[in-house]
Symmetry: C2
Subunit: 237 residues, 2 copies
Amino acid sequence: MEKKFQAIYDLLAKEIQTEKIKAGKLLPSENELTERFATSRETVRKALQLLSQNGYIQKLQGKGSVVLEQDKLPLPVSGLTSFKELSRSMSHKVETCVTSLSCKKAHGFIQQVLQCEEGAPVWELHRLRKLDGEAVIYDKDFLLEELAPGLTEEIAGDSIYDYLEQELGLSISYAKKEVVVEEAQVEDKAIMDLGSYQQLVVVRSAVYLEDTTLFQYTESKHRPDKFRFVDFARRTK
Amino acid sequence: MEKKFQAIYDLLAKEIQTEKIKAGKLLPSENELTERFATSRETVRKALQLLSQNGYIQKLQGKGSVVLEQDKLPLPVSGLTSFKELSRSMSHKVETCVTSLSCKKAHGFIQQVLQCEEGAPVWELHRLRKLDGEAVIYDKDFLLEELAPGLTEEIAGDSIYDYLEQELGLSISYAKKEVVVEEAQVEDKAIMDLGSYQQLVVVRSAVYLEDTTLFQYTESKHRPDKFRFVDFARRTK
DNA sequence: TAGCATAACTTGTATATACAAGTTATGCAA
DNA sequence: TTGCATAACTTGTATATACAAGTTATGCTA
């Protein structure tokens, strides 16, 4: 059985997305929702909390839950969205080209960031991302071989996250991400359509599994004019 | 009386920060904490949820709550951190210089983004941020005059958020943020120490109050080599 | 000893109840 | 009509209980 609060979340999220409930309006009260879904108020509140965290609604004590504008709504919560998802929201033609996939022995920098044994087998995956025909993003992924033994070029060309979660049953838990601007290297210029750009936006991210082990390290280089990062931050404290 | 779960959160967060509880170790179980704080399990769970959201711990069903590494812990949750906070975590000399503060009548673009009446009074605040003596960040803030009537240059030179929250009692609720790279304008080059850089990282953010009204719009231009954005994303769904 | 079922933990979900705190509409009184 | 107390909403916090689901250690059995 699917979790109840998740089901309520999905249903309400869809109603907001399809504008069945319009922005600016109030959601039905917690008590009404409790009755409608034949559940307890706490369960409804968990669903509403999720909606709030993901930018669908804004809760106001004493008033109710206001539905927020959705047109500019950023992706779930930045940081774990794949290129595929990203392109779905923009309306562009997207291609992914695997330029290399090899299994190497970890050493030096990679061994250090992945926190694995010296010489442990590690997938090194290079992917070139094209947006409307132009090569504008270059990804280098490093992931532990023992955790994704069946990786192939075909799989890698699709969404890696989908493969990890659906096929391997690994559940990705959280990611740390850093965004900086760096000088384009000679090899970057050879691979990507950089035009006269001399700098690249570099996104480095570490993906952790549920057991807190570091699983994947990615360096993603973006042509500056095609880079866009959207973030939705909520005040917690 | 302070909220109980918040108090528990503060206490545990401090213990993690001061490494009284070390990274990699498990937190006491929910039942133990319930007893220790003489409260109910749900209250403890709310505190733990906050700790998890802010990257202090990682909850694992059946095992417990693992304390995460804190050294690389990014700022609270990106998006609402002020320049002052940012500089505190890095160890650099920081200066803020208010280059202009004026109250203008809203029109055109600004009237549109702030969603206010044509001609409504709006503060326009320009600030130059220096890092170790170099002018590397230029902020333009626009905020509704009626919500911050007593703004002065002195206040603006400090942290605006502190002023809004502590002095005016306004509670900031959430912010949308966009990060892109754009060509440096002639006036940018005149104001900032750009060297040979031709592009700037531009962060545009909208700050909302609890009643979901847009309150402040900020455009922050960063010299690319001094820009760094850190994000901590947690899988929600 | 080795293997395995099980007991004893852990966190996750769902329910019910009570009252606090904030907002809004009602309706009485001046 | 105006003003104000109040009632009737809303969401927020705190508590108690029950069972599900996942992990780990115990200890029995072969």
